[in-house]
């Protein structure tokens, strides 16, 4: 998922961007008062850069496509043999040993399809997207010298981390939002407003579905930011963006494996992916928020750890 072409041009442009705030301000050497680069402009530039990368667009396109493929495939299968295909979706929740995944009933509804897709993609592809963005943010720019511009520019390391974090946050939000929106639109096209039913058997209004999906996107963003913070910590410690992606995905896979071992159940509350099953609670009516709140809290803990390590690594980094 690497692109070779625009690297050099990008590196130069990033340097130009980093220096840009000084161009219309007084050059730092010339004045005893160092003008701080306006944060808004830095953020805009960062976000523009992220979304100009072909790999970002490629993975986002894939994220849009997958709910559509799932919906259409399940729809076709359901037409073929009613109620027979139990393994319609690629698994509703990790380790769902007991019942069939939530895909079985109303699998293509505008409610279950976006949530189910989000849950499935949160296992690997969405973390991959975020890890990729975080890897590019620090390690990637370091690897072709673009970070040097940042480090020399009148931007404090804390602000640099802030800009990079917001960049990752935007990616997380856009990615989660795209998955849900794509699922929602596909669901509406396939089933209209049919099948907007909670697991408790209540029919939901379109408004009821929309706020639940909004909560799902917000929650997924927090979860992905926890992944992103850890990725930024790795990213600040290396100059190989590949290492960031491998580290994050490896960590997630190891966590999931550990979650399968009942003897380690004392460890499970410490593992980030154990929050994922709580998204199912959004399909219940009334929604029980206990699991979601706990999952969000766990994610914030990871966020604090990740960002503090990233900050420590960044402040001690030489230009």
């Amino acid at each position: 998922m690497t692109t070779q072409g625009p690297v050099a041009a990008r590196g130069a442009a990033v340097q130009g961007r980093a220096a840009a705030p000084d161009a219309d301000a007084v050059p730092p050497e010339a004045s005893p008062v160092r003008r701080r680069a306006p944060i808004g402009r830095l953020l805009r530039a960062e976000v523009r850069w992220i979304f100009r990368r072909p790999r970002t667009l490629a993975v986002l396109g894939l994220l849009v496509l997958l709910p559509v493929i799932t919906g259409v495939a399940v729809d076709l299968t359901l037409d073929g043999a009613t109620a027979a295909p139990v393994d319609a979706g690629p698994g509703g929740a990790p380790g769902a040993g007991g019942g069939p995944p939530i895909f079985v009933t109303m699998a293509t509804s505008a409610f279950v399809l976006p949530l189910g897709s989000l849950m499935t993609l949160l296992m690997l592809l969405l973390p991959l997207t975020v890890a990729m963005a975080a890897g590019d943010a620090l390690a990637g720019e370091q690897s072709h010298g673009a970070l040097r511009g940042w480090l020399l520019a009148p931007v404090s390391r804390g602000r640099l981390l802030l800009v990079k974090t917001v960049g990752v946050l935007v990616v997380a939000l856009v990615a989660a939002g795209l998955v849900v929106t794509s699922g929602l639109v596909t669901g509406f096209l396939l089933a209209g407003t049919d099948g907007l039913v909670s697991m408790s058997g209540t029919e939901l209004s379109v408004g009821g579905v929309l706020w639940r999906l909004a909560v799902a996107v917000a929650w997924a963003t927090i979860y992905l930011m926890a992944v992103g913070a850890v990725a930024l910590a790795i990213s600040a410690s290396t100059e190989h963006p590949m290492l960031v992606v491998v580290g994050v995905l490896g960590g997630l896979i190891v966590s999931v494996v550990l979650m399968q071992i009942p003897a380690l159940d004392w460890l499970h509350p410490y593992l980030l992916p154990s929050s994922l099953t709580s998204l199912v609670d959004l399909i219940r009516d009334p929604v029980s928020f206990d699991g979601l709140v706990e999952g969000a809290f766990r994610a914030v803990c990871y966020l604090v750890i990740g960002l503090s390590v990233a900050y420590a690594r960044l402040t001690t980094r030489d230009g």
Binding site: G92, V104, V197, V304
Partner: protein, 362 residues
């Protein structure tokens, strides 16, 4: 402070805070000391608990099941981890049994009750003319899942055959409660040691029950609230309209009354099951469902008969022949003609129960 020290402090503080937060969320809630409550007599507590009317409340209960029971029809309601309960303080209640990716929802109103299973996308409707006990029996599964109802049922059923005592106090779902202990009378032929029931001091609603078996210090079955909040509930919670496309099946309570107690000593508790005996040595007898292969049927290379032969021992009696399987708190006999008898009792009691049941049926 140099940048290096600053970095170390930042990293150290962040990691500490983060890990402390993670550890915090693993701590069990409500590990407080037992509350001090005015002394109360066992009889008074039992009477007040049985007379207690549940206030309007919402609660979350969790279940711990170490029974190792074989799949007896009618015990599917025991296959869950957590359940949410809503009461309006009058006749209406809502019980949601949460499974990993599906849910069983029971909604009981003043003149009808619904059971919805999201796995099947099917709804069952129970109606009755008068809100009597037979109607309540129709959705016994719902009561099993609600700790307050289930514990009250236990007290009522086991009261005549138990020695009852109050054994201190406990804190359940952050509420002060009395611990009621039911011990089987010496004449009872059971493998259970005792059942403890925590009764809320303020409302007298049972909040938790634990079932203990002989020779085990940990409870084999525990169902209790982890959250319990008294307060008015939204009226919408107690109304149910089956969603479009759901399979709806209606049962009149009158039919249920007709078929229940159709014969002396044989008391219908569900579609498949009947009970023999009373109190601690009650034996539940059920028909193995049709889709369950009973006789040497091969499914996925597994032979149910072969498995039974491996884990169980053959038994014979007037009822015919079968296989006895021993589990933590009791046992079950699967007969060769596809009936299952289970209870917290020794093997001979199961065999006797099957004989009795066979005699009643003829």
């Amino acid at each position: 402070m140099g940048p290096r020290t600053k970095a170390l402090v930042a990293a150290g503080a962040g990691i500490t805070v983060g890990i402390a937060g993670l550890a915090l969320s693993t701590l069990p809630a409500g590990a407080d000391d037992d509350p001090v409550l005015p002394a109360i007599g066992a009889e008074e507590l039992v009477t007040s608990a049985l007379a207690a009317r549940a206030p309007a409340f919402s609660g979350v209960a969790e279940m711990q099941n170490e029974l190792g029971l074989p799949a007896v029809p009618g015990t599917e309601a025991l296959d869950f981890e957590s359940v949410r309960v809503f009461h309006d303080g009058e006749e209406s209640a809502r019980v949601q049994v949460e499974r990993e990716a599906s849910e069983l929802t029971f909604v009981k109103g003043s003149d009808e009750a619904w059971a919805y299973d999201s796995r099947e996308h099917s709804a069952k409707r129970f109606t009755w003319d008068e809100a009597d006990a037979a109607a309540a029996r129709g959705h016994a599964e719902a009561e099993l899942a609600d700790p307050s109802e289930a514990a009250a049922e236990i007290i009522e059923r086991l009261r005549p055959t138990s020695d009852i005592a109050v054994d201190g106090t406990a804190r359940v779902a952050d509420r002060a409660a009395y611990e009621l202990v039911l011990t089987p009378k010496p004449t009872e032929k059971t493998l259970l040691r005792e059942i403890t029931i925590a009764v809320d001091e303020e409302t007298r609603v049972p909040l938790r029950f634990d079932v203990f078996a002989n020779g085990r210090s940990e409870p084999v079955l525990s169902l209790g609230f982890v959250e319990f909040e008294v307060g008015a509930q939204d009226a919408d919670l107690f109304e149910f309209t089956p969603p479009e496309g759901a399979e709806v099946e209606t049962t009149e309570a009158d039919d249920a009354v007709g078929s229940a107690r159709d014969a002396k000593g044989r008391d219908d508790v569900g579609q498949y099951a009947s009970t023999v005996g009373e109190g601690w040595d009650t034996v539940v007898i059920g028909e193995a469902p049709d889709d369950l292969p009973t006789e040497a049927a091969v499914e996925d290379g597994q032979d149910l008969g072969g498995i039974l032969a491996q884990v169980g021992q053959p038994v014979t009696g007037e009822f015919g022949t079968g296989t006895h399987v021993q589990v933590a708190v009791g046992g079950a006999v699967v007969t060769d003609d596809g009936r299952i008898a289970a209870g917290a009792v020794p093997r001979q009691v199961l065999v006797d129960a099957l004989d009795t049941d066979g005699a009643v049926q003829q």
